[in-house]
Amino acid sequence: MMNSLILNAATRLLVALLLLFSIYMLLRGHNLPGGGFIGGLIGATGFVLYAIAHGCSATRAALRVEPQSIAMVGLGIALAAGVFAVFFGDALFTGQWLFLGATEDDYGLPLSSVLVFDIGVYLVVFGSILTIVLALEEEV
């Protein structure tokens, strides 16, 4: 933990920006560079910054949930999204699509299990990075 006024003030803004950017990266990843892995890394960076500025206990309080639990929930979500395809007779990890409000010449709102998988990956990466960093930071 660093006692720096500049860092403390800047962190407030940066954490929010990083978290927003991480979600942008997560959603962008479907067709462009990005995705759950990099999104999770960026999101975790936000909280790592917070931990450096305000300490680990404040970070844990801000997270509300244990980072290990976040990672495991993510793993469960990713796994479920992968196995989900089997119920429709497809190979594992085949994307399943739902086109909300689709008409003859409009796809409507496409929803996919691919995004669910990516959200799972996001949470796994986010949770495990924070688990490791907080464990190391608390030890020092």
Binding site: Q68, S69, M72, L75, G76, L79, G82, V83, A85, V86, D90, A91, L92, F93, T94, G95, S128, T131, I132, A135, L136, E139
Partner: protein, 512 residues
């Protein structure tokens, strides 16, 4: 097909999630045991399919190869997954008595299962980038297991472990990038064909050496092994047993896979380097072990020296030598994990793994003595145990090529292994306990005794079975080696097309 291939990945991941949910109660450890048993069954079914039908491949998400991620199992992959199942189950049972509640609450069982998933994934993937992902899964899980509990000594080991592994990862990634730039594909089967078209053979060799260094770090070969003896003796016994048995062997597997399937263009150059590496690895490992005085540290250095034998099998690159390498891999995982488990029981009843601080085990716990002797003699290569056949095949392979020096080194290293094993035997088992303690297995509760001794005894029996009836195992290794040397079947199954022209075996005959 895709189910059979994905089950060894899905089962441990699902078990990890369940075990984590129940980490505060006793259910977590039983979930871990059941998950490991299910993994063993799944791996058995996969093995059955591979034996019956040859190479099995499945495309994840229905994306056809070489664009999507392919899972593929040939005989080598299948046997490695089976061995992972066996060791995983043995260690999960052992962990019932070995892992403290404090570590369970931190999520030990979940991390253990994620590690198993990572190992299985590395064995089953048919895609180079996916292999990198599985390496990362393993790295994160093993780092977590290594520092679990957070003692200073563990953190020190963990930092060394992660730093050197990250260096290896960077090289691995850079190699992947260069290879992709040259060939435009990362599917291993497709690479096998594509590297033959590459015009810049010099750059290909450079990339081959980058992969050699990257996997060499993971496999702990000379001169990149120093992280291993610095870290493997620090975590709890169950953790170090699974590390000792499986982790470095993933590096060896990756080396074997890449240098039989992809990098076979300049065998004279790459495999000569491997031959030197193998020799030095054997010698430095065994000499390091001779200088150590701690049960687990001695065993750690012996992992290094034994890795040398497996690399030797790959470096000689003849059918017989690869048979030896495959046989050695299987034999070694069982034996080495078992020795670490024995070390754990010795610590439990005699109070330490430091050889000067324990003793008298033979007098008061003769059963443990017997259970130590079986894997220890097998490691050193005594007939009729499994290690004898493994060493015999490799020495014969080097003699066939008239590499007298290499064969001599392999034999002398075997002798020095006996020296280390007798040092453990003399200190831990024969000499009286320095503090006058009388270590007895009876001092453990009945339940603890069962869950500690049962896995050790089962693995020891397996070692004896391989030693006494080597014929089917050698035949199996012969078939696996034949697939490695002539990957037509592998390539055709993955790509779904017939392959023409020169492959591994044809090139090999060209060299001879």
């Amino acid at each position: 097909m895709s189910w059979l291939l994905a089950a060894p990945l899905i089962i441990p991941f699902a078990t990890a999630v369940l075990a984590f949910l129940f980490r505060n109660g006793p259910e977590g450890r039983w979930i871990s045991v059941m998950g490991s048993a299910a993994l063993l069954i799944a791996s058995g079914l996969l093995m059955q399919a591979v034996l019956a039908e040859g190479v099995v491949a499945g495309q994840m998400g229905n994306w056809p190869a070489p664009f999507g991620i392919t899972l593929v199992a040939d005989l080598l992959s299948a046997v490695m997954v089976v061995i992972t199942g066996i060791t995983g189950l043995a260690v999960a049972v052992y962990a019932l008595a070995d892992i403290e509640e404090r570590l369970e609450k931190l999520g030990y069982h979940a991390l253990f299962q994620v590690l198993l998933a990572g190992v299985c994934g590395a064995f089953l993937t048919g895609d180079l980038f996916n292999l990198y992902v599985w390496f990362e899964v393993m790295l994160i899980a093993s780092f977590g297991l290594l520092i679990l509990g957070g003692r200073r000594q563990q953190l020190d080991a963990g930092i060394k472990y992660v730093t050197i592994n990250l260096v290896s990862t960077i090289l691995f990634l850079a190699g992947i990038g260069l290879l992709y730039g040259m060939t435009g594909t990362l599917n291993l089967a497709d690479l096998h064909l594509a590297v033959q078209e590459v015009e810049n053979k010099g750059l290909l060799t450079v990339v081959a050496v980058m992969f050699m260094v990257a996997f060499g770090v993971k496999a702990a070969v000379f001169p990149l092994f120093f992280w291993l003896p610095a870290s493997y003796h620090t975590p709890s016994v169950a953790v170090s047993a699974i590390f000792a048995g499986l982790l470095t062997k993933v590096g060896v597997y990756a080396l074997i896979r890449m240098f039989t399937l992809v990098f076979t263009e300049d065998v004279d150059y790459t495999h000569t380097i491997l031959l030197w590496v193998a020799g030095f690895t054997m010698v430095t490992g065994v000499l390091g072990a001779a200088a150590m005085n701690d049960f687990r540290r001695i065993l750690s250095f012996h992992i290094v020296s034994q890795i040398g034998y497996m690399i030797l099998g790959l470096a000689l690159y003849t059918p017989l030598a690869l048979v030896g390498a495959v046989f050695y891999l299987v034999h070694h995982i069982i034996v080495k994990a078992n020795l670490f488990l024995v070390a754990g029981v010795a610590r439990r009843i005699a109070g330490s793994t430091e050889l000067s601080a324990i003793g008298g085990l033979y007098k008061t716990a003769p059963v443990l003595g017997l259970l130590f002797l079986i894997p220890a003699f097998s490691l050193a290569g005594f007939p009729p145990l499994s290690g004898f056949w493994a060493k015999y095949i490799l020495v014969k392979a080097s003699l066939d090529l008239e590499l007298w020096l290499v064969a001599g080194v392999a034999l002398v290293v075997g002798l020095l292994t006996i020296y280390s094993m007798t040092k453990i035997w003399g200190n831990a088992f024969w000499k009286p306990h320095p503090a006058g303690m009388q270590p007895k297995l009876g001092s453990l509760s009945g339940r603890d005794r069962a869950s500690l001794i049962l896995p050790i005894a089962s693995l020891a029996i397996l070692t004896c079975v391989i030693g006494l009836f080597p014929e089917p195992f050698v035949q199996f290794a012969e078939r696996a080696a034949a697939q490695l040397l002539d990957p037509v079947d592998y390539v055709a199954t993955v790509l779904g097309t017939e392959v023409e022209g020169a492959t591994g075996l044809a090139q090999l005959e060209g060299i001879e």
